[in-house]
Subunit: 125 residues, 2 copies
Amino acid sequence: MAEANQREAIDLGEKFGLFSDQWSPRIIAGLNDLHVKIAKIEGEFVWHSHAETDEFFLVHKGSFVMEYRDRSVTLKAGDVHIVPRGVEHRPVAAAECEIVMIEPAGTLNTGDAGGDRTVEAPPWI
Amino acid sequence: MAEANQREAIDLGEKFGLFSDQWSPRIIAGLNDLHVKIAKIEGEFVWHSHAETDEFFLVHKGSFVMEYRDRSVTLKAGDVHIVPRGVEHRPVAAAECEIVMIEPAGTLNTGDAGGDRTVEAPPWI
Protein backbone atom coordinates (compact mmCIF):
# COMPACT_ATOMS: atom_id res chain seq x y z
CA MET A 1 0.00 0.00 0.00
CA ALA A 2 3.04 2.24 0.10
CA GLU A 3 2.16 3.78 -3.22
CA ALA A 4 -1.55 4.14 -2.57
CA ASN A 5 -2.87 7.55 -3.50
CA GLN A 6 0.38 8.55 -5.20
CA ARG A 7 -0.09 10.90 -8.14
CA GLU A 8 -3.64 11.63 -6.93
CA ALA A 9 -5.13 14.85 -5.59
CA ILE A 10 -5.77 13.93 -1.95
CA ASP A 11 -8.47 16.33 -0.78
CA LEU A 12 -8.05 16.69 3.00
CA GLY A 13 -11.58 18.00 3.52
CA GLU A 14 -13.01 15.06 1.63
CA LYS A 15 -10.91 12.56 3.57
CA PHE A 16 -11.94 14.04 6.94
CA GLY A 17 -15.55 13.69 5.81
CA LEU A 18 -15.21 9.92 5.52
CA PHE A 19 -15.04 9.14 9.24
CA SER A 20 -16.18 10.53 12.56
CA ASP A 21 -14.43 8.56 15.30
CA GLN A 22 -11.89 10.48 17.34
CA TRP A 23 -8.31 9.50 18.21
CA SER A 24 -8.39 6.94 15.41
CA PRO A 25 -5.83 7.84 12.75
CA ARG A 26 -6.27 7.07 9.05
CA ILE A 27 -3.40 6.83 6.58
CA ILE A 28 -3.87 8.93 3.44
CA ALA A 29 -0.45 8.68 1.78
CA GLY A 30 3.00 7.14 1.88
CA LEU A 31 6.14 9.28 1.59
CA ASN A 32 9.21 7.06 1.41
CA ASP A 33 9.18 5.20 4.75
CA LEU A 34 6.73 7.65 6.30
CA HIS A 35 2.98 7.70 6.52
CA VAL A 36 0.80 10.78 6.18
CA LYS A 37 -2.08 10.34 8.62
CA ILE A 38 -5.16 12.32 9.55
CA ALA A 39 -7.15 12.23 12.78
CA LYS A 40 -9.97 13.95 14.63
CA ILE A 41 -9.15 14.70 18.24
CA GLU A 42 -11.08 16.06 21.20
CA GLY A 43 -10.26 15.99 24.90
CA GLU A 44 -6.99 14.84 26.45
CA PHE A 45 -4.69 12.20 25.06
CA VAL A 46 -2.09 10.26 27.10
CA TRP A 47 1.39 11.53 27.90
CA HIS A 48 3.88 9.73 25.69
CA SER A 49 7.04 10.12 23.63
CA HIS A 50 8.64 8.57 20.56
CA ALA A 51 12.29 7.70 21.16
CA GLU A 52 13.16 7.18 17.50
CA THR A 53 11.39 9.93 15.59
CA ASP A 54 10.23 13.50 15.39
CA GLU A 55 6.54 14.01 14.60
CA PHE A 56 5.02 16.48 12.14
CA PHE A 57 1.67 18.04 12.93
CA LEU A 58 -0.48 20.36 10.83
CA VAL A 59 -3.82 21.68 12.03
CA HIS A 60 -6.41 21.40 9.26
CA LYS A 61 -9.43 22.67 11.19
CA GLY A 62 -9.97 23.90 14.74
CA SER A 63 -7.22 24.21 17.31
CA PHE A 64 -5.52 22.25 20.05
CA VAL A 65 -2.79 22.57 22.63
CA MET A 66 0.38 20.49 22.52
CA GLU A 67 1.32 20.13 26.15
CA TYR A 68 4.92 19.51 27.16
CA ARG A 69 6.13 19.03 30.72
CA ASP A 70 7.60 22.54 30.70
CA ARG A 71 5.31 24.46 28.34
CA SER A 72 2.15 24.40 26.26
CA VAL A 73 1.92 25.39 22.60
CA THR A 74 -1.42 26.47 21.17
CA LEU A 75 -1.88 25.40 17.55
CA LYS A 76 -4.59 26.68 15.22
CA ALA A 77 -5.64 25.88 11.66
CA GLY A 78 -2.72 26.50 9.32
CA ASP A 79 -0.07 25.93 11.97
CA VAL A 80 2.71 23.37 11.59
CA HIS A 81 4.36 21.88 14.67
CA ILE A 82 7.28 19.50 15.17
CA VAL A 83 7.48 17.33 18.29
CA PRO A 84 11.13 16.37 18.78
CA ARG A 85 12.00 12.73 19.31
CA GLY A 86 12.18 11.60 22.91
CA VAL A 87 10.22 14.53 24.32
CA GLU A 88 7.09 13.81 26.34
CA HIS A 89 3.97 15.44 24.97
CA ARG A 90 0.20 15.26 25.14
CA PRO A 91 -2.28 16.80 22.69
CA VAL A 92 -5.36 18.34 24.29
CA ALA A 93 -8.29 19.72 22.27
CA ALA A 94 -11.11 21.67 23.92
CA ALA A 95 -13.31 21.05 20.86
CA GLU A 96 -12.96 18.66 17.95
CA CYS A 97 -9.88 19.41 15.89
CA GLU A 98 -8.70 17.92 12.59
CA ILE A 99 -5.00 17.23 12.31
CA VAL A 100 -2.50 15.89 9.76
CA MET A 101 0.50 13.93 11.06
CA ILE A 102 3.62 12.63 9.32
CA GLU A 103 5.87 10.05 10.92
CA PRO A 104 7.58 6.76 10.02
CA ALA A 105 5.25 3.90 9.14
CA GLY A 106 4.59 1.84 12.24
CA THR A 107 4.94 4.73 14.69
CA LEU A 108 2.36 4.13 17.42
CA ASN A 109 0.04 6.95 18.41
CA THR A 110 0.79 6.28 22.08
CA GLY A 111 4.54 5.94 21.57
CA ASP A 112 6.23 4.38 24.60
CA ALA A 113 3.13 4.68 26.79
CA GLY A 114 1.03 1.90 25.28
CA GLY A 115 -2.37 1.25 26.81
CA ASP A 116 -5.89 0.94 25.51
CA ARG A 117 -5.76 4.03 23.32
CA THR A 118 -3.07 2.50 21.13
CA VAL A 119 -4.01 2.00 17.47
CA GLU A 120 -1.70 -0.74 16.20
CA ALA A 121 -2.36 -0.48 12.46
CA PRO A 122 -4.35 2.52 11.26
CA PRO A 123 -6.36 1.81 8.10
CA TRP A 124 -5.80 3.56 4.78
CA ILE A 125 -8.56 5.82 3.64
CA MET B 1 19.61 23.97 12.28
CA ALA B 2 17.84 20.61 12.26
CA GLU B 3 15.96 21.47 15.41
CA ALA B 4 15.07 25.04 14.47
CA ASN B 5 11.42 25.86 15.04
CA GLN B 6 10.82 22.60 16.94
CA ARG B 7 8.19 22.91 19.66
CA GLU B 8 7.02 26.20 18.12
CA ALA B 9 3.73 27.06 16.45
CA ILE B 10 4.83 27.59 12.84
CA ASP B 11 2.15 29.77 11.28
CA LEU B 12 2.16 29.04 7.55
CA GLY B 13 0.35 32.29 6.65
CA GLU B 14 2.88 34.29 8.62
CA LYS B 15 5.83 32.48 7.03
CA PHE B 16 4.49 33.03 3.49
CA GLY B 17 4.17 36.73 4.36
CA LEU B 18 7.92 37.01 4.93
CA PHE B 19 9.01 36.72 1.30
CA SER B 20 7.73 37.40 -2.19
CA ASP B 21 10.18 35.81 -4.65
CA GLN B 22 8.83 32.86 -6.59
CA TRP B 23 10.43 29.42 -7.10
CA SER B 24 12.71 30.11 -4.15
CA PRO B 25 12.00 27.61 -1.36
CA ARG B 26 12.39 28.41 2.33
CA ILE B 27 12.88 25.80 5.04
CA ILE B 28 10.49 26.14 7.97
CA ALA B 29 11.13 22.94 9.91
CA GLY B 30 13.19 19.76 10.19
CA LEU B 31 11.55 16.37 10.59
CA ASN B 32 14.21 13.71 11.17
CA ASP B 33 16.29 13.81 7.97
CA LEU B 34 13.63 15.71 6.05
CA HIS B 35 13.00 19.39 5.53
CA VAL B 36 9.60 21.06 5.48
CA LYS B 37 9.80 23.81 2.87
CA ILE B 38 7.44 26.46 1.55
CA ALA B 39 7.48 28.22 -1.81
CA LYS B 40 5.49 30.58 -3.98
CA ILE B 41 5.18 29.41 -7.56
CA GLU B 42 3.77 30.89 -10.75
CA GLY B 43 4.27 29.83 -14.36
CA GLU B 44 6.04 26.70 -15.56
CA PHE B 45 8.89 24.94 -13.82
CA VAL B 46 11.36 22.58 -15.51
CA TRP B 47 10.71 18.88 -16.11
CA HIS B 48 12.70 16.86 -13.59
CA SER B 49 12.62 13.83 -11.33
CA HIS B 50 14.17 12.71 -8.04
CA ALA B 51 15.63 9.21 -8.27
CA GLU B 52 15.98 8.71 -4.53
CA THR B 53 12.85 10.12 -2.96
CA ASP B 54 9.14 10.71 -3.11
CA GLU B 55 8.01 14.31 -2.64
CA PHE B 56 5.13 15.57 -0.49
CA PHE B 57 3.14 18.58 -1.66
CA LEU B 58 0.35 20.46 0.11
CA VAL B 59 -1.37 23.46 -1.45
CA HIS B 60 -1.73 26.24 1.12
CA LYS B 61 -3.29 28.88 -1.13
CA GLY B 62 -4.28 28.98 -4.79
CA SER B 63 -3.96 26.04 -7.13
CA PHE B 64 -1.53 24.50 -9.59
CA VAL B 65 -1.23 21.58 -11.96
CA MET B 66 1.30 18.80 -11.46
CA GLU B 67 2.11 17.69 -14.97
CA TYR B 68 3.35 14.17 -15.64
CA ARG B 69 4.31 12.81 -19.05
CA ASP B 70 1.07 10.80 -19.14
CA ARG B 71 -1.36 12.91 -17.14
CA SER B 72 -1.97 16.17 -15.30
CA VAL B 73 -3.27 16.49 -11.75
CA THR B 74 -4.97 19.71 -10.66
CA LEU B 75 -4.28 20.57 -7.03
CA LYS B 76 -6.14 23.20 -5.02
CA ALA B 77 -5.81 24.61 -1.51
CA GLY B 78 -6.16 21.78 1.02
CA ASP B 79 -4.98 19.08 -1.37
CA VAL B 80 -2.06 16.79 -0.59
CA HIS B 81 -0.09 15.19 -3.42
CA ILE B 82 2.76 12.66 -3.52
CA VAL B 83 5.17 12.61 -6.45
CA PRO B 84 6.72 9.13 -6.59
CA ARG B 85 10.49 8.82 -6.80
CA GLY B 86 11.91 8.59 -10.29
CA VAL B 87 8.84 9.95 -12.05
CA GLU B 88 9.24 13.01 -14.25
CA HIS B 89 7.03 15.91 -13.25
CA ARG B 90 6.64 19.63 -13.71
CA PRO B 91 4.54 22.01 -11.58
CA VAL B 92 2.67 24.68 -13.52
CA ALA B 93 0.70 27.48 -11.84
CA ALA B 94 -1.53 29.84 -13.84
CA ALA B 95 -1.50 32.31 -10.94
CA GLU B 96 0.66 32.54 -7.84
CA CYS B 97 0.24 29.52 -5.62
CA GLU B 98 1.62 28.83 -2.14
CA ILE B 99 2.85 25.30 -1.50
CA VAL B 100 4.35 23.24 1.32
CA MET B 101 6.84 20.51 0.40
CA ILE B 102 8.48 17.77 2.47
CA GLU B 103 11.50 15.86 1.23
CA PRO B 104 14.93 14.77 2.49
CA ALA B 105 17.31 17.59 3.38
CA GLY B 106 19.48 18.36 0.37
CA THR B 107 16.89 17.39 -2.23
CA LEU B 108 17.31 19.83 -5.11
CA ASN B 109 14.24 21.60 -6.47
CA THR B 110 15.30 20.72 -10.02
CA GLY B 111 16.20 17.11 -9.19
CA ASP B 112 18.22 15.49 -11.95
CA ALA B 113 17.63 18.34 -14.40
CA GLY B 114 19.92 20.97 -12.88
CA GLY B 115 20.13 24.33 -14.62
CA ASP B 116 19.83 27.93 -13.59
CA ARG B 117 16.62 27.44 -11.61
CA THR B 118 18.37 25.19 -9.12
CA VAL B 119 18.43 26.44 -5.52
CA GLU B 120 21.38 24.71 -3.88
CA ALA B 121 20.71 25.56 -0.25
CA PRO B 122 17.37 27.12 0.60
CA PRO B 123 17.48 29.43 3.63
CA TRP B 124 15.58 28.83 6.85
CA ILE B 125 12.82 31.26 7.63
